[in-house]
């Protein structure tokens, strides 16, 4: 019997990215593209927001794709099928705005490729012409390429080291694309590291193309209760957990976002170091 919050499948997509199918029928039934869950791996764990990378209401699972970076994500990375996540709550945040926009460029960078998958699917069912652009440091860092390609009308890959596709950042690719292609782009959706989203927005602003980004600030409760995730959009304070996580990228104060993402750098180092010491053999370091 499958239990609620139980890991059904685990896929090591890259060295740093792991993907789980977690049995959570209630959330799978409710989830929409663009939403997230808050997860606690263990009973003394922190509450971390994870975008729902995919969901299947028939089979009752959600997909959580995780970049192993800090203590909590590394701890999650060690979990195996059969194990239970301590807590999952959601779906949280507002769903992506999905309608027939026309020609849509959807950009995913790094682990940010995962959350664009349900968005691309939804856009596809609304008959949009989808130009997907995936970026990673190198070819080994790319995830979900097959699935995304399946729903895309155009499919482009960028790698920083040029090991696959365009050599360079997704923003550089986008600039070239917009310059040379005379197709009218109705909307850009970009999900990835804050710096990537910032770079994309500075380009699309010049071309006057509405650009939606999904922000990933630090959260605690994820329900609008604490204000940890506050961001500034059009010079107004917003809570990413309830007002977002998606916002008009041209209005977002990315420097503030980046600054607030670094609040707990020292503490994260302490926690990760302690964790690594306790799990040396398992972590292969």
């Amino acid at each position: 019997m499958v239990l609620e919050n139980q890991i059904i499948n685990k896929y090591n997509l890259t060295k740093e990215i792991v993907s789980f199918e977690v049995f959570s029928p209630t959330i799978a039934n409710k989830a929409k593209a663009g939403q997230f869950v808050i997860v606690r791996a263990s009973s003394n764990g922190e509450r971390i927001p994870l975008t729902i990378a995919d969901f299947n209401s028939t089979r009752g699972y959600i997909n959580l794709t995780i970049l192993k970076r800090g203590k909590s994500t590394n701890q999650l990375g060690l979990m195996e099928p059969g194990q239970l996540l301590n807590d999952i709550v959601g779906p949280l945040g507002k769903p992506s705005e999905i309608e027939k926009f026309g020609n849509v460029v959807v950009i995913g960078g790094g682990v940010g490729i995962a959350p664009i998958l349900p968005i691309i699917k939804s856009l596809h069912y609304e008959d949009n012409y989808i130009i997907s652009v995936l970026g990673a440091k190198s070819a080994e860092g790319l995830i979900f390429t097959k699935e995304i390609k399946q729903y895309s009308n155009e499919f482009h890959i960028c790698t920083d080291d040029g090991s696959l596709g365009f050599k360079g950042f997704v923003s550089e690719f986008l600039l070239n694309y917009l310059k040379k292609d005379n197709k009218k782009i109705n909307r850009v959706i970009a999900i990835g590291p804050a710096l990537m989203m910032k770079a994309v927005c500075s380009i699309t602003k010049n071309f006057n193309i509405k650009t939606i980004v999904s922000l990933n600030p630090i959260m605690v409760d994820g329900t609008g209760m604490c204000g940890s995730c506050r961001v500034e959009v059009a010079n107004q304070t917003k809570f990413a957990c309830v007002d977002g996580p998606e916002f008009d990228g041209h209005q977002v104060d990315f420097d503030l976002l980046i600054s607030r993402l670094n609040i707990y750098c020292n503490e994260e180092d302490i926690a990760l170091k302690k964790f690594m010491e306790n799990h040396k053999c398992k972590m292969n370091i």
Binding site: T26, I27, K30, R40, N44, G45, E46, R47, K71, S72, N86, D87, I88, V89, G90, P91, L92, V220, D221, T223, G224, M225, C226, G227, S228, R230, V231, E232, T237, V242, L256, S259, R260, N262, I263, Y264, E267, E268, I270, A271, K274
Partner: protein
């Protein structure tokens, strides 16, 4: 004869002091500040009660605990009976004994208090609750027939206070939010025989009792015990469930719930709306306290959630939440903690006892001072620009209105700022139920017994009144429980 003579004149016993951890010690730990009465102390304090024919204290209690009777039991050393008496009206005595503002309620109306210090009703309530703390409750028992019920009652020596709980009537009621109002309402409904499901958004039940009020004022063990008691009455608690997201209210009705009680509290932090408020190092009190209390950041890195520790912490506000934040900052190792409040001490909404505790512990009170701007450096808070205030005419709250003094701007150095100026209603649930009428502030509009504009849906506690006290929310939970019972029985809305 002489003794009798003395007795008839009632020897004056001074109010029994409660022992406390010394300030210099307690600021180094998160353990409870007040240590509670011993049996002797409790009995001694109970002797002070005048046993009034018409006890005013009961009128002063928002849930009308039969204070006179429970004190009489303590006097007779029948401590368990005392608790049973309290539990007739209050499912969370260990909590209320600790966090109720008794000076504004039962103790305010105590007749002894006219010429002397009132009876320490709160401390006695706490004593009765703690006395029984280690007793195990009967959990989630579901009988098939009345014989089973009777045998079970005999075998388990079940007392009056939870006897009704095992006679379920199979009518489902949903309660949203496992804070003081939700827990109380659930307990009352379960005692009436309803099958109650209590939905909680967080991973731990208790609401503000677990995320807001610090360990040193209300140990989480006490909250857990009282939650266990409510569960023992037959209430099922579903954690990690956000009504409005996981399910909507209409879905609850379609799942067979006959009535819904919204008790989601005041879970939306207010900010000042001044420049620099999103700098690193500026916290809402909700975040600061949630990290420490619910997420146990004071035990980092054994627990995963971090909190910023720094030498100078400034807390903005004058209520209990501000005081809790300031005292938490001290315990996290701050060398200097300032409480910046725009009015004076007399207008502070915080409990007198907590103000006293905060001062003893070394919190520096900066009165008549209002922040204008937060000044940062490299993304981190550095200073607060403030202006001095003076008190003018009373405003609509009856307190004297603070007015700025021209040319009194000045800067205060600080490493961390905690903003504790109040909380509003969290809109996550109400956004998905547009048929529930709200007022301008976003609070749910109800009638006197908690009926909302949506049939079958009741609301109570802070989501209706705005941020208030634990006991007022509990009082609302109780009124609503009776109203739900009446609604289900009569069908009249």
């Amino acid at each position: 004869m002489q003794n009798e003579h003395l007795n008839s004149k009632k020897e004056k016993i001074p109010r029994t002091k409660i022992s406390e951890q010394k300030p210099e010690e307690r600021i180094k730990n998160f353990n409870e500040v007040e240590l509670g009465y011993t049996e002797e102390e409790a009995v001694r304090e109970s002797m002070r009660c005048l046993m009034c024919k018409k006890p005013k204290c009961i009128e002063g209690c928002p849930v009308n605990i039969d204070i006179k009777s429970f004190i009489a039991y303590i006097k007779n050393k029948e401590f368990e009976k005392a608790l049973e008496k309290i539990r007739e009206k209050n499912a969370l005595p260990g909590v209320c004994g600790r966090v109720c503002p008794q000076e504004d309620q039962c103790e305010k109306t105590c007749i002894l208090g006219i010429k002397d210090q009132p009876v320490a009703i709160g401390k006695l309530e706490r004593f009765a609750a703690d006395y029984e703390k280690n007793k195990n409750y009967v959990k989630n028992y579901k009988p098939n027939n009345s014989d089973e019920v009777n045998n079970f009652i005999k075998a388990n020596k079940i007392t009056n206070s939870n006897i009704e709980s095992i006679r379920f009537n199979n009518i489902k009621v949903a309660v949203i939010g496992a804070g003081p109002a939700g827990l109380t309402c659930s307990g009352e409904l379960a005692k009436m025989g309803y099958k109650v499901t209590l939905f909680e958004a967080l991973h731990s039940p208790g609401g503000v009792l677990v995320y807001g009020i610090p360990e040193f004022r209300l140990p989480k063990k006490i909250v857990n015990d009282e939650v266990e008691y409510v569960k023992s009455l037959g209430v099922e608690i579903k954690l990690n469930t956000i009504i409005g997201k996981t399910f909507t209210i209409d879905e609850l009705f379609s799942k067979g719930y006959k009535s819904v009680f919204i008790a989601t509290g005041a879970g939306l932090p207010y900010f000042l709306g001044i420049k620099g408020e999103n700098l690193n190092g500026v916290y809402s009190a909700n975040e600061y306290l949630t990290r420490v209390n619910l997420m146990k950041a004071y035990l980092f890195p054994e627990w995963d959630t971090p909190i910023k520790k720094a030498d100078i912490v400034s807390v903005i506000g004058g209520g209990n939440v501000a005081l809790d934040s300031a005292r938490t900052a001290l315990r996290l190792g701050a060398k200097k903690v300032k409480l910046i409040y725009r009015r004076s001490e007399a207008e502070m909404p915080g409990r007198i006892e907590e103000i006293k505790h905060a001062k003893e512990e070394g919190v520096e009170m900066v009165y008549l001072t209002n922040p204008l701007e937060i000044i940062g450096e490299n993304g981190w808070v550095k200073k607060i620009k403030c202006i001095r205030m003076q008190l003018g005419e009373p405003d609509e709250s009856g307190r004297r209105r603070p007015l700025p003094i021209t040319n009194s701007e000045h800067e205060i150095d600080t490493d961390i700022i905690v903003i504790a100026i109040g909380q509003g209603p969290n809109p996550v649930l109400t956004q998905t139920s547009p048929d529930i009428m709200l007022n301008k502030k976003g609070n749910i509009v109800t009638d006197a017994v908690g009926k909302t504009s949506k049939k079958g849906v009741f609301a109570g506690g802070d989501i209706v009144t705005g941020a208030a006290t634990v006991i007022l929310a509990m009082g609302a939970g109780k009124i609503v429980a009776n109203a739900i019972d009446e609604y289900i029985k009569t069908g009249i809305w």
